[in-house]
Symmetry: C2
Subunit: 416 residues, 2 copies
């Protein structure tokens, strides 16, 4: 890129956004403590369903994993694995090192056509949701998606780290605001005061809860609000085609003012990320100018093959069977453990312990009982809101869920 200028004054600027120095200063010792407890970065071998082999103190132990976000249990589905292998085998290639603006596997075009048909949107794939989000934000900031007028871009305070990261990049191009989580009054107030507004949020939040999609669509009707929603944790779990938490609440057409990011991993069971767009012009802009598209590589063929197999599965009865199985497991968990999210059809549950060390201690005690959960603390959640995160999936057995629930109860009792 050659369009920027010398900026000697940057050091004098305030730091309104992320302060990596203070994040590290606060979190480093907690992370070290969690590492000492053997809770971070486990290296394990896959076993059946949600079970993994974990080498601890030189013996292989089996633990049930509640960390992975394979909500429908598709990540080891034989057809998806066979899709991955067959794509590599058939094309005698895994990966091409060139920008998508240059050269693509024809199978990637077929995959995007199939996903566009499945989700009734213009779908572009990316290697990760991180890459999809990175490309989208400057395009939103440019004004080219909002009648060539630079919009005010409003972030939900809890929007995913891969979105919030880019606030300074966006602020270099247009006005940025951050509002409290799901604060629709604040958002409406900004819509009243500004001609063009883009709202950036998650559909399903990775630490529990969701965006009020119906209310956001009402603001869109009233004010022309543009929505950019990261539905990484919502895809496949909802909708007759698995179109996800957000897409299943938008009408038959995505329209001109809604972009949805989603994962090809997680519920979808393959690997990668995608964007759902509503118009030809949006597709053109993203395929010409999004950074990952023009300056990074595409999904590899194994991921393409896996996603192709998964989209085919999404068209069969198996999708609903797995969605229903997930629902039953969520109900089973909620019957045993109280949580802020109890009663929701979303699969993420958090148990708040408050102190960082209490959460780490609890996760360790539960791991000793054979269940791996995520100890969550700043910067993943706010300071003093540490706890456990549990990802329920369709391929956990009811016994595993009851075992985890029992373990959590015991640890909560011990903690008083």
């Amino acid at each position: 890129m050659s369009d920027d200028r010398h900026s000697p004054t940057a050091a004098a600027m305030p730091r309104p956004y992320r302060n990596t120095l203070s994040v590290i200063n606060f979190a480093d010792r907690n992370l070290a403590a969690a590492e000492r407890e053997g809770l971070m970065a486990l290296y394990v071998k896959p076993d059946k369903n949600r079970s993994v082999f974990w080498s601890a103190a030189s013996e292989d132990r089996q633990v049930t994993d509640f960390v992975r976000c394979s909500y429908l249990g598709l990540d080891n589905h034989p057809q998806i694995l066979e899709g991955a292998i067959e794509a590599v085998r058939r094309h005698n290639a895994l990966h091409w090192s060139c920008a998508r603006t240059r050269l693509n596997f024809s199978m990637l075009g077929e995959l995007e056509d199939a996903l566009s048909d499945l989700f009734v949107a213009r779908v572009i794939t990316y290697t990760t949701v991180l890459a999809a989000n990175m490309g989208a934000l400057p395009l939103l900031a440019s004004g080219h998606l909002t009648e060539n007028k630079r919009p005010t871009i409003v972030f939900d305070r809890l929007a995913h780290a891969t979105l919030a990261f880019h606030k300074p990049v966006v602020a270099n191009e247009t006005r940025v605001e951050t509002i409290a989580h799901n604060d629709l009054n604040a958002l409406e107030d900004i819509c009243r005061r500004n001609d063009r507004v883009v709202y950036v949020c998650d559909g399903v939040y990775s630490m529990g809860g969701s965006a009020p999609i119906g209310d956001l669509l009402a603001l869109q009707d009233r004010y022309g609000l543009f929505l950019y929603i990261d539905d990484a944790h919502g895809i496949s779990l909802f909708g007759t085609s698995g179109e996800g938490f957000v897409r299943s609440q938008v009408g038959r057409s995505l329209g001109e003012r809604t972009i949805i990011a989603a994962s090809l991993g997680k519920g979808f069971g393959a690997s990668g990320g995608l964007l759902m767009l509503g118009t030809l012009r949006q597709e053109e802009l993203f395929r010409r100018f999004s950074i990952a598209y023009a300056f990074s590589a595409s999904l590899n063929l194994a991921a393409i093959g896996a996603a192709m197999a998964s989209q085919a599965l999404h068209r069969t009865e198996e999708l609903k069977l797995r969605q229903d199985a997930l629902g039953q497991r969520i109900i089973a968990f909620d019957g045993k453990v109280a949580s802020e999210q109890a009663g929701s059809t979303l699969p993420i549950r958090t148990i708040e312990f408050g102190g960082e060390r209490s959460a780490i201690h609890a996760a360790r005690r539960i791991l000793n009982k054979g269940f791996f959960t995520s100890a969550i603390f700043f910067p993943t959640v706010a300071k003093g809101k540490a706890g456990l995160r549990i990802c329920l999936t369709a391929s956990h057995s009811i016994e595993e869920i009851e075992g985890l629930a029992h373990g959590i109860s015991e640890v909560l009792d011990e903690a008083g």
Copy 2:
């Protein structure tokens, strides 16, 4: 993330960095023209070596590709493909949707150990170089890599788009400067005036040329300059273990002040990206705080298996044979076509045409002759510096290279 504040004043700020609006306004029509000529985003099927099947006007044509950066021709090496397939088959999994701070395939740990051994550095892998770079820049800005003092971060004006993109993020945390390409005097001047300086550049530039590594290491010796070098296009091509253009010029130990980013695609022939780090503390910080590590997913198993096979190949005689074959092909090309890079051992050549439409027209004429090259123009290169880019590889035949050279000469003659 929950550590940022409301910033209502952002809109009043100047835009010292990338201006997406004006990039699009300038480049959109050129990209549309290149698309109309059938030069952008080709969807093709792999054939043998550098040949691909391209469907044009409803017939399959075979063209020789000079766009892909598989410099050693490893991207369709049977052992690498078998490595990809076997990893998926053996583990019954392709991808796990969870942060690397949580859960990893044990084979990923084995891969990073093997790469660390091969390149004599602490290696962390990422899904893409884009993701590796994104995670590194805020850590550099935080000062945690420079004795806990925030450094001045100096970008080469031509540093890759996936680095330059983040200047506003870096400027939110510390002072940012951009210097002319390879301007060592400017860099030394900044080193004299500042206590801690980080220089961010490419090792091998994607549009030709390289960084003066020896001179940079001299500045490091003299001033303690910290180097962050993206060697995506240099890996595997140089060094007895394929450690790359940069690593092969640094001594036996990487030291405390040099970080190298590189690709697991391109010369390496697999899929993904990596960082080479010099110290335990650096590794700890990256494994705890780099954004893609904590908030995105890992390489999928096909990529892990492919990289494992490639690193094994890097330990055999085949590496040198392929490095030598590449060298011969570069000499063959230079014997026929004059370019700014002629005589260099690097595999990228650019032919400047000046005007964007001239470059597009030339690429189209050459494609008609059966050779696919990259038409390069703003924002990939500076305005008015449009041309062709040619990536030479070890698996182009000498006949293919002579055919391309002949095609280029004809088109240059026509253009006068």
